[in-house]
């Protein structure tokens, strides 16, 4: 470790805009990444997340805005001077070089002495568990091995920032899940500021310190996994993360939000949205026994089961209420509730704790 250089730098993106003709890939995006944190840019294809990552790496020039690493403004700095490590989606390994030569490449460019260079390369390969593969050609490696070479090459020269563009998307499910954990451990070990791009919400929830949800070139919400999941700020985040049921709410004269005659909550202050929705996470719904006492801390929904699907450790239930709304509920199959006795077409009552409900401004994205 170089003692007089910080282990990692913070990144601040201010009002970054990038357009291609009439299409705005990034629309005045501002994000602050803390030094050492693992931030994920999460969004569907075309959301702008990769454009943002590329802007940070220097592979596209923004139309306006600023990018700073720590205290320095790097907005106009060419990519080869930015000192960031990057892992591309298709790894982009050099096919005409061996594994060792690939990883040594950045060190060779920085004219590191041979002894030290060899040491660093082997250290990096050890970290990714590929020390026996040093002399292999790239086309002899499997997908997972190539991914690890790309990783080793990205951090071997001790960058203060690491960028990853959907590095696990080409791997099969089991390998992906293993690599997610390995990447998390690597991040803990290196302590380097990491910006990670993915469209897989489960991956984002697993790996990140914070998640920035992006769509249409804008940051929809930024927060910890728990915040994003439990307190989505708008309908996009609520529907993109996890499954949800949306129930429209009505405003009453006294400044409250009402469902089925029951006052759910007060109108949150400082919000100008006209319409509001209730967002219900499927795993928060419970079945209510026929004779159970009504509790004021819960909200109740009565309806008919329209769909019941056994999916292993959980069962998915779709229910239609009297008002024609659809609720999605996920039941644990080993719970005391007698799932096996249920059938489609049956009447059922579901309940949810009032503190588990989420209210979002509808239409305010």
């Amino acid at each position: 470790m170089v003692p007089d250089r910080p282990a990692s730098l913070s990144i601040s993106v201010t009002e970054l805009t990038k357009s291609y003709g009439n299409f705005y890939a990034l629309n005045a995006v501002s994000i602050d990444v803390k030094a050492g944190e693992f931030l994920t840019l999460l969004g569907p294809s075309g959301s702008g997340k990769t454009t943002l990552l590329m802007a940070i790496a220097g592979f596209n020039r923004p139309d306006s805005g600023q990018i700073c690493f720590g205290d320095s403004d790097v907005t106009l700095m060419p990519p080869h001077q930015r000192e960031v490590g990057m892992v591309f989606q298709n790894y982009a390994l050099f096919p005409h070089m061996s594994v060792f030569e690939n990883v040594a490449f950045p060190l060779k460019l920085r004219k590191i002495a041979k002894q030290e260079k060899n040491q660093k390369v082997m250290d990096a390969l050890n970290t990714v568990q590929l020390s026996d593969f040093a002399n292999r050609r790239i086309d002899q490696l499997s997908g997972g091995q190539r991914q690890r070479v790309a990783l080793a090459r990205a951090f071997v020269f001790g960058p203060t920032i690491l960028l990853m563009d959907e590095p696990l998307s080409a791997l099969d499910k089991k390998l992906r899940e293993e690599m997610q954990i390995e990447l998390k451990q690597l991040h803990r070990k290196l302590g380097v500021t990491t910006v990670y791009v993915t469209h897989d919400q489960r991956e984002a929830l697993t790996m990140s310190d914070r998640i920035a949800v992006i769509n249409d070139g804008e940051v929809k919400q930024i927060g910890t996994p728990r915040e994003i999941y439990n307190r989505p700020a708008n309908s996009f985040v609520a529907s993109f993360i996890g499954e949800s049921s949306f129930i429209p709410l009505v405003r009453d004269a006294k400044g409250g939000l009402v469902y089925d005659g029951v006052r759910i909550a007060d109108l949150p202050s400082g919000q100008s949205a006209k319409a509001w929705s209730l967002v219900i996470r499927p795993e928060r719904l419970s079945m209510v026994a026929a004779k159970a006492k009504i509790q004021s801390s819960k909200l109740y929904f009565k309806g008919i089961i329209t769909e019941l699907v056994y999916q292993g450790e959980t069962a998915l239930m779709m229910m239609e209420t009297g008002e024609g709304e659809t609720l999605i509920a996920r039941m644990n199959t080993r719970s005391g509730d007698d799932i096996d006795s249920l059938a489609e077409g049956q009447n059922i009552t579901l309940s949810i704790d009032k503190k588990d409900i989420i209210i979002i401004p509808d239409g305010a994205t």
Binding site: H80, M86, F88, R153
Partner: protein, 309 residues
């Protein structure tokens, strides 16, 4: 209700026995179909046999006969002994090497430029390579003859602009031949080279830049090595074509640049000596195959073929 069994290859009886009998009939049917498909190549094979195999084979045998029709190696001996033959070989190889070298020098930047152009414009620029490619060899050779003459375009232009004072002899010599051949061979190098450059993954270049390589370092340390197979493929095509080339050296060489193909023709026109001519032809053929065989050790030849189209 008719049965659509595509030819009645199998009857109900075959299905009853689930053993080897059914499987054998299946394999036989499969082989028959493969054979019928291969039979489609027969017309092409026949013409190739008639025009290539038989004549070249005949030439091969002719080369081993002397004037009296007896078996002899005299024709090949002459090749080693006569200085004129050795000069012809040397000229042919020199011209081929020089042409190939110049094509690489001029063609690489052009191919690189084309590979960097956005898709919208590539077609337009490619037209400048394809236009000569589509134009008759004879027409292009003629154009150079007219331009390189003493009082031709180039000399007149240069004198008018003051680049040189007296007309330089650009035609009917080695210079003229090289100029003409490079012009004709250039598309044969640029097209496969461009195809190879297109196949280089852009991400690899970005990765190099990200790791700290300046654009120049990226070009020399990553792009050029990855483009080498394309260079080899193109050079091969050019070199092999140059070895057997006739028209352009015949017209632009002015009798001073004698390549193997011209020597062969001269022997036939002057002496009608089939033995000597075919021996030379065999040497040319062997040289061509040797170059290709050498290259196939380093290259997959089918990528050469399909890279161009």
């Amino acid at each position: 209700m008719g049965r659509h069994d595509g030819g009645g290859i199998m009857t109900k009886g075959d299905h009853n026995s689930r053993g080897a009998l059914g499987a054998k009939k299946l394999r036989a049917a499969e082989r028959k179909e493969a054979a019928m498909l291969l039979a489609l190549t027969i017309p092409a094979i026949i013409v190739v046999a008639l025009i290539i195999i038989i004549p070249v084979g005949w030439l091969f045998s002719l080369s081993f006969l002397d004037e009296t029709g007896q078996f002899s190696l005299a024709n090949y001996q002459k090749m080693i002994e006569y200085k004129s033959y050795l000069r012809v070989f040397r000229t042919t190889f020199n011209v081929s090497f020089l042409t190939t070298f110049l094509c690489i020098l001029i063609g690489y930047p052009l191919a690189y430029f084309l590979s960097q152009m956005p898709r919208k414009y590539v077609g337009l620029f490619m037209l400048t390579v394809l236009l000569p490619f589509w134009t008759s060899l004879l027409v292009r050779t003629y154009a150079w003859l007219v331009m390189l003459q003493r009082n031709g375009l180039i000399n007149n232009f240069a004198i008018d602009l003051g680049i040189w004072d007296t007309p330089i002899k650009l035609a009917h010599n080695l210079n003229g031949t090289l100029i003409g051949m490079v012009h004709i061979m250039l598309p044969f190098l640029v097209l496969p080279l461009y195809a190879a450059m297109q196949r280089i993954d852009r991400n690899t270049l970005q990765a190099a830049a990200n790791l700290g390589a300046t654009p120049i370092q990226t070009f020399w340390q990553v792009f050029v090595p990855l483009s080498l197979p394309g260079v080899v493929a193109g050079s091969l095509i050019v070199f092999v074509l140059c070895l057997g080339f006739y028209v352009t050296p015949a017209v632009l060489g002015g009798g001073k640049v004698i390549m193997v193909s011209m020597q062969i023709t001269a022997i036939l026109e002057d002496q009608f000596n089939w033995g000597a001519a075919s021996a030379l032809g065999v040497v040319l053929l062997v040289a061509t195959f040797a170059v290709l065989a050498l290259a196939s050790r380093f290259l997959k030849l089918d990528s050469v073929m399909f890279g161009r189209h």
